[in-house]
C-alpha cells in the first residue's frame, strides 16, 4: 500500500481530532473525576489528593441508607407519572390543534410559553399560587365554598403539586415536537385513509400515531432523562418536604454535598443516577436495534421468496 493511500485513510481522523480533544476535556474528564470521587471519603475542606480512598464503601452505605432509597422511589414515581401525563396531554393537544384555523399560530405560541420561563421563576410562581391563604387555588376554592387544600404542607398534596407544576412546564415540549411530527406526515396517505373509510379516530390510531412513533419514542426518552434530573422547581416549591415526600434524587445529591458535606457519597449517588439514565438510553437503543434486525430479517425472507 502506498504512502498516499495510507495518508488518505488517516485524513478523516485528523479532521476528527479537535472534536476528540474537546470531548476528552469537556466530557470524559469531569465524569472520570466524579467516578474517582465516588470512591473517596471527601469533605469540601480537603483537596482531592488528601481525601481517603475507601473503595466501594460509599455505595454500600447508600444501599443501607433508608432516606436514599426513599428519594430513589420518589424520583422513579415522579418521572413515571409526569412523563406519562405529559405524553398524553402533549400528543392530545397536538392532535387537537393540528388544523388550519385562524389564530391557531398565536395559540400555538401561547402554548409553548411555559417552557421558555426559567425554572426558578416557575418554582416561585407556583409557590405563590399554592400559598395556603393568598394563593389563587385556595382563594378560588374558598370563594366557591370549598375547603382550602394544604398544597405544600401535606405529603400527598405536595407530591401532586410538584407533578402539576412539572406537567404545566413541560407538556409544551412534547406538544411542539408532536405537532412538528404530525405536520410532516404524508398528507395524501391521510386522504387515502379518509377515502378508504377511516373515521377521525381510526385515522389517529391507525395512521397518525404509528407514523409518529419514532419521534414520540425519542421525545419520551428525552423527557424521561430530564425528569430524572429535575431540581430547581422542586427546590423552590417544597425543598423536598414535607419529610422526604418530594425529595427527588437531584435534590438529595445537592443536599448531601451541600448540607452533609459528603462529597464522595454525593458523587456515588450521581453515578447511580448516571447509570440509571444510561440503562434507559441503552435499553432504547437496543430496542431500536432489535426492531431493525427484525425488519432486516423479514426483508431477507421476502427477497428469498422473490427468486
Amino acid at each position: 500500500m502506498s504512502v498516499a493511500i495510507k495518508a488518505n485513510r488517516l485524513t478523516p481522523y485528523m479532521f476528527l481530532a479537535p472534536a476528540g480533544v474537546i470531548l476528552v476535556f469537556a466530557l470524559l474528564y469531569p465524569i472520570g473525576y466524579m467516578v474517582y470521587a465516588s470512591f473517596l471519603d471527601w469533605s469540601p475542606s480537603q483537596r482531592i489528593g488528601q481525601a481517603e480512598f475507601i473503595g466501594f464503601r460509599n455505595y454500600v452505605n447508600l444501599w443501607g441508607d433508608e432516606a436514599f432509597r426513599e428519594s430513589f422511589w420518589v424520583t422513579i414515581r415522579f418521572a413515571a407519572i409526569v412523563v406519562t401525563l405529559e405524553m398524553f396531554l402533549g400528543v392530545g393537544l397536538a392532535l387537537l390543534l393540528d388544523r388550519n384555523l385562524k389564530g391557531m399560530a398565536v395559540l400555538r405560541t401561547v402554548f409553548i410559553l411555559p417552557m421558555m420561563i426559567a425554572p426558578i421563576v416557575v418554582g416561585l410562581m407556583w409557590r405563590y399560587m399554592y400559598h395556603p391563604t393568598v394563593g389563587i387555588f385556595n382563594r378560588t376554592l374558598k370563594s366557591m365554598g370549598f375547603e382550602g387544600v394544604p398544597w405544600l404542607s401535606d405529603s400527598t398534596w405536595s407530591f401532586i403539586a410538584i407533578v402539576i407544576a412539572d406537567v404545566w412546564q413541560w407538556t409544551p415540549f412534547i406538544f411542539i415536537l408532536a405537532l412538528a411530527a404530525m405536520q410532516s406526515l404524508p398528507r395524501s396517505a391521510l386522504e387515502a385513509a379518509e377515502i378508504d373509510g377511516a373515521s377521525e379516530w381510526q385515522k389517529i390510531l391507525l395512521i397518525k400515531l404509528p407514523l409518529m412513533m419514532p419521534v414520540l419514542i425519542v421525545t419520551l426518552l428525552l423527557r424521561l432523562i430530564d425528569a430524572f434530573k429535575v431540581l430547581e422547581v422542586i427546590l423552590v416549591l417544597t425543598n423536598g418536604g414535607p419529610g422526604l415526600s418530594t425529595e427527588i434524587l437531584a435534590l438529595r445529591i445537592f443536599r448531601t454535598a451541600q448540607e452533609f458535606q459528603e462529597l464522595g457519597e454525593a458523587a456515588a449517588m450521581s453515578n447511580l443516577l448516571l447509570m440509571l439514565l444510561m440503562a434507559l438510553t441503552i435499553g432504547m437503543f437496543a430496542y431500536n436495534r432489535v426492531q431493525e434486525a427484525r425488519v432486516a430479517r423479514q426483508r431477507a425472507a421476502a427477497e428469498k421468496d422473490d427468486d
Partner: protein
C-alpha cells in the same frame, strides 16, 4: 342512465375561482379521462368528486343522488394518488386490505380478495414488504391494487403514471388498458399526457383554464376539434397553425396565406360561407401532409426545410412556409438536404379552420 353527473360545478379558493361551472355526464362503466395543461383544474375536479375538496357551487350526482355534502367514505369510491399515498408503516397486504379491515369483513374473505388482486397485478411475492422496500413501479401497482381490493363503484386516478420513467410508463399504460377490460367500473382518470388520454379513454374531456373545452371519444376530438386549443393539445407532433384568408371565387373557395394557396373542399367552403369572418387560422396536422413532388399547386404546400430531427424510422422536419413554422413527418430514408424546398400534398379531410378572433372551429 348517467352514473356520475357534474352540474355547474364551481370551485373558489377565497375570491379566486379556479373552476367556472363544469358540466359533465359520465355513462355507466365508462373510462373518462380529464386532460389538460398544468393548473387547468383537473385535480381539483377529481378531488371534489372524491370529497377531498369542498364544493363551492353546483352539485355532484352519483346515481342521481347529490353527494357534495357526503364524506368521502360515503361515496363508494377508490382513488389512486399521484404520489401513491401508501401507508408507509403497513406491508403491501395490509395496505391493500386496509379498507376491508375497516369494514370488519371476515379475515378469510379479505385474504381471498387480496390474493386475487395481488395475483392479477403480480404482487404476490411482495405482500410482506413495506412500501419503502419496493421500486417505484411496484409501489404504483400496490396503489392500484389497494383501489381494486376495495371493490368500489367508482375509481379515481390522479396522474398515477407521472412519477414513472418513460419505459415503465408505457408498460403500465398497457397494463392499465388490460386491467380496464377486466374490471368493469366507472373510472375517472386525470392526466396531462395526451397519449395516455387517447389510448385509455372511452371519453376524453379536455380542460383549459377551469373550463371544459370539449368532450367526446378520442376519435371525435382528434378529427373534429371544437377549437384551436383542443386541436393543438391533442396529437403529436402537434397541429400546425397558419394565418390565412378565405377567398371566394365564382366556382371554388380558396384558403390562402403567405406562401400557400389551397382549394377548400365543398363542405368546408359552405361552412366558411355561412360564417362571418374571412380571417382564419388554418390548422393541418403533420400526419395530413405527405411528401409528394408532383402534387397539384392548389392541393399542396411548398416547405423549406430548416431542421431535421431524426427519431428512427420517421424524421420530424421543421420547415418554413412564408415566414411561419410548419412541422411535417417524413420517412427517414427520403434523401433531403437542409434548405431544400419540398412539396407536400395536403389531405383534404385534414384541413381545419378556426376563427382568428374566437378560435372556434369553422365546420
Amino acid at each position: 342512465m348517467p352514473q356520475i353527473r357534474l352540474e355547474n360545478l364551481v370551485k373558489r379558493y377565497g375570491n379566486f375561482e379556479v373552476l367556472h361551472g363544469i358540466n359533465l355526464e359520465m355513462e355507466e362503466n365508462e373510462f373518462t379521462v380529464l386532460v389538460g395543461p398544468s393548473g387547468c383544474g383537473k385535480s381539483t375536479t377529481l378531488r371534489m368528486i372524491a370529497g377531498l375538496e369542498s364544493v363551492s357551487d353546483g352539485e355532484i350526482f352519483i346515481n342521481e343522488k347529490p353527494v357534495s355534502n357526503l364524506e368521502p367514505k360515503a361515496r363508494d369510491l377508490a382513488m389512486v394518488f399521484q404520489d401513491y399515498a401508501l401507508y408507509p408503516h403497513m406491508n403491501v397486504a395490509k395496505n391493500m386490505s386496509f379498507a376491508l379491515r375497516l369494514q370488519r369483513r371476515p379475515k378469510k374473505e379479505i385474504d381471498e380478495k387480496v390474493g386475487v388482486v395481488a395475483e392479477m397485478l403480480g404482487l404476490t411475492k411482495f405482500l410482506h414488504r413495506k412500501p419503502g422496500e419496493l421500486s417505484g413501479g411496484q409501489r404504483q401497482r400496490v396503489a392500484m391494487g389497494r383501489a381494486l381490493t376495495r371493490d368500489a363503484g367508482t375509481f379515481l386516478f390522479d396522474e398515477p403514471l407521472s412519477n414513472l420513467d418513460a419505459k415503465l410508463r408505457g408498460q403500465m399504460r398497457a397494463e392499465l388498458a388490460l386491467m380496464r377490460q377486466q374490471v368493469q367500473k366507472n373510472m375517472i382518470y386525470v392526466t396531462h399526457d395526451q397519449i395516455e388520454a387517447m389510448t385509455l379513454g372511452d371519453r376524453i374531456v379536455v380542460m383549459h383554464g377551469g373550463y371544459i373545452q370539449q368532450q367526446g371519444t378520442p376519435e371525435e376530438l382528434f378529427k373534429r376539434p371544437a377549437n384551436k386549443f383542443v386541436a393543438g393539445f391533442l396529437g403529436s407532433p402537434p397541429m400546425n397553425f397558419l394565418e390565412a384568408e378565405v377567398q371566394d371565387l365564382s366556382d371554388r373557395s380558396f384558403v390562402s396565406g403567405k406562401g400557400f394557396e389551397l382549394v377548400l373542399p365543398e363542405d368546408k367552403a359552405a361552412a366558411v360561407a355561412s360564417s362571418s369572418s374571412k380571417a382564419v387560422t388554418l390548422g393541418i396536422r403533420p400526419s395530413d401532409l405527405h411528401y409528394s413532388p408532383d402534387a397539384e399547386d392548389h392541393e399542396s404546400v411548398d416547405l423549406q426545410v430548416i431542421v431535421s430531427e431524426y427519431i428512427g424510422a420517421q424524421s420530424v422536419l421543421l420547415c418554413d412556409c412564408g415566414g411561419q413554422k410548419v412541422e411535417v413527418e417524413l420517412k427517414s430514408e427520403t434523401p433531403i438536404a437542409l434548405g431544400e424546398t419540398l412539396r407536400f400534398a395536403v389531405n383534404r379531410e385534414g384541413i381545419h379552420m378556426f376563427d382568428r378572433e374566437t378560435e372556434v372551429a369553422i365546420r
